[in-house]
């Protein structure tokens, strides 16, 4: 008798183990990401890794950005904009709770934005919210924003990770224990290893299909490849281009190639000789062969750009032919500018693969017209100090990943050292305009000025290259904003 019971128990537990394994697997996901976030509060740091884990998963904003970069309702279900474009009234979603059980209302919205705008604020994007003059609570479900000037990007900026809604009770601890209103709640963080999220059952919106998600931190490309092949992780949102062929040929995986907001440029110190001479910059633009760089540095993934603008944006114009690849023209312009023999310059490279590889190719392209480059490899912290803060550089290569960031050229103190009053006036007008058609015209004009002035060497738009288990669906192909949004991801047979 005892034996039978034992045997029965064994079969039962085995059966349970098997079915629970079968049930558990299809609703969980493990995603490999290269960088570990230093902390988990998207309003207190600029690291992309923070948003990768938290954006739209743990935290939500008044609005959210969708896969195509369009603004969709978020915690604000509806809104009205006054005639003069200065007053925004938001109707908030009801029955929303934070993951600690506290309720969400207009007071939380006011708290969030007062915190961003406070004088001791450490929000990395505070400048984007500067047009906000006041946030007023009308009733628990209604909140009104007053702007000091119309801002065409205001709604988009509300959808960024930097403006997610936080609660006064938990905001201080969000760095280690993030509490938001999103469809996934934070469960645990094994530092150095992974962050685990679980579906938040009382979520106010539609519940996602996944019940659990882990972000596993794997920095090394070869290791990430092995982890994918061994089935230790189910996918990664952005993988090294050189290893993609391994997965393209394997039916167990799917490779999703999309676009990002990363304009990769040969940034040029316009304030320094000889780059303050537009003919020198034009010569450099003529000397660059984008196709060769894209082939060599990103293995063909990446779209050529002729100005500082993302090709998938509705305002984009193709300006890649402003200065076509023409070494003779480059040499002519250099001679005109007084450098018939060329000159020597430094190229400071941050520690990212695309920069290192592009740097070597550009060095050989510029050498053809007499510009000899000395390549200097740097860590990020050193790059930020030397190149970005102290502007001690001739050239550098970096991808500018902020969405719609053409305005950086209007700041003469920015590290490009580009000071063009005409461009500055144009951007001011663009910022203050809400009329779509007019905005488009101004944006096109701004792109054209940058291309003609050859402020930087415009190289390519970084591609997003995701590798996923073939049975997964609903991942974002494009990256209009930083983040790995779990909302629509599910397992299919």
């Amino acid at each position: 008798m005892a034996k039978t019971t034992q045997l029965f128990g064994l079969i039962l537990s085995l059966g349970l183990a098997l079915t629970s394994a079968a049930l558990a697997q299809p609703s969980e996901i493990r995603i490999g990401v290269a960088l570990e976030p230093p902390m988990l509060d998207p309003t207190a740091g600029a690291a992309e890794a923070i948003d990768v884990v938290t954006y739209q998963n743990i935290f939500e904003g008044l609005v959210r950005i969708d896969q195509d970069g369009a603004v969709q309702p978020g915690l604000a279900q509806d809104w009205t904009i006054s005639e003069d474009g200065l007053t925004y009234t938001f109707e908030l979603a009801s029955d929303v709770t934070f993951h600690d059980g506290s309720t969400f209302d207009a007071e939380d919205v006011k708290f969030t934005f007062d915190r961003i705008l406070a004088s001791d604020s450490i929000n990395a994007q505070k400048a984007l919210y500067e047009p906000i003059e006041a946030v007023e609570v009308i009733d628990p479900q209604t909140v009104e924003f007053t702007l000091s000037r119309p801002d065409g990007l205001f709604l988009f900026n509300l959808g960024r990770g930097d403006a997610v809604i936080v609660a006064p009770e938990s905001a201080e601890n969000n760095a280690a224990e993030p509490i938001g209103t999103g469809p996934f709640a934070f469960i645990q963080w094994d530092r150095g290893s992974r962050v685990v999220l679980e579906r938040y059952e009382p979520y106010w919106g539609e519940l996602p299909a996944l019940t659990k998600a882990s972000f596993v931190f794997i920095g090394d490309t070869a290791t990430l490849t092995n982890a994918l092949l061994a089935g230790d992780i189910d996918g990664t949102n952005n993988f090294a281009a050189e290893a993609l062929p391994i997965f393209e040929a394997n039916p167990q995986f799917k490779v999703l190639v999309g676009t990002t907001e990363g304009e990769t440029v040969l940034a040029t110190n316009n304030a320094r000789e000889p780059f303050n001479d537009v003919r020198v910059r034009q010569a450099i633009a003529h000397a660059i062969d984008r196709e060769e760089i894209i082939e060599g540095a990103t293995y063909g993934y990446g779209e050529p750009i002729g100005s500082h603008f993302a090709p998938h944006h509705p305002y984009y114009v193709d300006l890649t032919e402003t200065y076509p690849h023409d070494p003779d023209a480059a040499r002519r312009l250099l001679t005109e500018a007084g450098y018939p023999e060329g000159f020597i310059a430094t190229l400071k490279l941050p520690p990212v693969a695309y920069a290192g590889l592009s740097g070597q190719i550009i060095a050989s392209q510029l050498a053809e017209v007499g510009i000899r480059l000395e390549l200097v490899n740097m860590e990020w912290a050193q790059w930020l100090e030397d190149v970005f803060t102290n502007k001690d550089y001739d050239f550098t290569i970096v991808a500018h990943v902020e969405p719609f960031d053409i305005g950086i050229y209007a700041d003469p103190d920015y590290y490009f050292g580009y000071d063009n009053p005409e461009f500055q006036a144009l951007v001011e007008e663009l910022n203050a305009t809400t009329d779509e058609e007019l905005r488009r015209e101004l944006a096109v004009e701004a792109q054209t000025i940058l291309a003609e002035d050859a402020v930087n060497g415009y190289l390519f738009e970084l591609a997003q290259t995701g590798v996923w288990n073939a049975k997964l669906e609903g991942m974002w192909q494009n990256a209009p904003i930083e983040g790995v949004v779990l909302r629509d991801i599910r397992w299919v047979e």
Binding site: S121, F217, G219, A227, A230, D232, D386
Partner: protein
């Protein structure tokens, strides 16, 4: 003996103080502003200044140094700039991976290296000796990370016996934690086994030529008995020294292997902290490493002095 130990202890404390000062100065000279790193290139100068104030980066260097030093006496290593968590806790969590990993690597190294060395010495000049020494040389020459990747390809990707990396915390599942340390332990331990095999062989060959082995043989022991009972024990002294050095080397040298197997160890913590200019964290972790190495040396010195009275007299040292 007491005086000897006291002198060693004073030397130990002085070493730590000098190390602390050197670490602090070197890190302070590194270019790069932690506040700018955290907030990125689009942050305003005002936000960066606010964060610098919050992190206490604006205080003069000597104040920050003494503050740091005083804190350490009470076990307070400061708060990490980027992670906003206590440095002591961050390091303690990582030691739970790095220390067991080092121990496993040392056990593998001794379990493989010592018998191999003994066998090679006993078959000196013959085929097993040559083969062992060639393999050992190969083990020393092959880089850890490359060896680690080969192991992953075979045992994780192809055979799927062991996880390709990552770490299950001890409190969740001890067996799973051990499994996740198996491949990195091999990758770290086997090259060390090569070194150990060579040292063991040389020491044993040296010892077997000496008088006391001849005496033992004369008493009627066989060659094998003489080597096992007297030779190996005497040859172990230089080997133990090497093992002590290996411990220090392994603790500090796990960075690459921890990266290949994405283990949350101390090496990887320091690596990331340096690139993010999280100076408080780098300082704390480095001083812990210095402490581990110097303490090992202190213990070894005192233990040697206990065994060998000549060392205490000062005539030898």
């Amino acid at each position: 003996m007491i005086l000897y130990s006291f002198r060693r202890l004073v030397g130990f404390a002085a070493t730590l103080l000098v190390a602390a000062a050197v670490i602090f100065i070197l890190l302070d000279l590194l270019p790069g502003d932690p506040a700018r790193f955290i907030l990125g290139i689009n942050a305003s100068a005002e936000a960066v200044a606010n964060l610098r104030l919050q992190l206490g980066l604006d205080a003069p260097a000597h104040e920050r140094f003494w503050g740091w030093l005083a804190g350490m006496f009470t076990g307070d290593f400061g708060v990490s700039y980027t992670q906003r968590a206590p440095v002591g806790t961050l390091i303690w969590d990582r030691l739970g991976v790095t220390v067991p990993l080092t121990a496993i690597a040392m056990i593998i190294s001794a379990a493989v290296g010592l018998p191999a060395g003994i066998m090679a010495a006993r078959r000196r000049g013959k085929a097993p000796d040559t083969i062992t020494m060639v393999v050992a040389q190969l083990g020393i020459a092959v880089p850890n990370f490359w060896f680690g990747m080969l192991l992953t390809l075979l045992f994780a990707v192809t055979l799927r016996w062991l996880p390709p990396g990552g770490f299950t915390p001890w409190h969740e599942d001890v067996w799973a934690a051990l499994r996740s340390l198996a491949l990195p332990g091999l990758a770290l331990g086997l090259p060390q086994a090569g070194i150990l095999a060579r040292v063991m062989r040389t020491a044993l060959v040296d010892v077997t030529g000496q008088d006391f082995i001849r005496t033992a043989r004369a008493k009627g022991l066989t060659k094998g008995e003489a080597v096992w009972r007297h030779g190996v024990r005497n040859a172990l002294l230089p080997v133990l020294t090497i093992l002590g050095l290996q411990f220090a080397f392994l603790i500090a040298g796990t960075i690459i292997v921890e990266n290949v197997f994405y283990l949350p160890g101390l090496g990887r913590l320091i690596f990331t902290a340096i690139s993010e200019r999280d100076l408080v964290l780098v300082r704390g972790a480095t001083i812990i490493l210095v402490l581990a190495v110097t303490a090992t040396m202190l213990v070894t010195d005192i233990a040697y002095a206990l065994i060998d009275p000549r060392l205490r007299e000062g005539s030898v040292r």
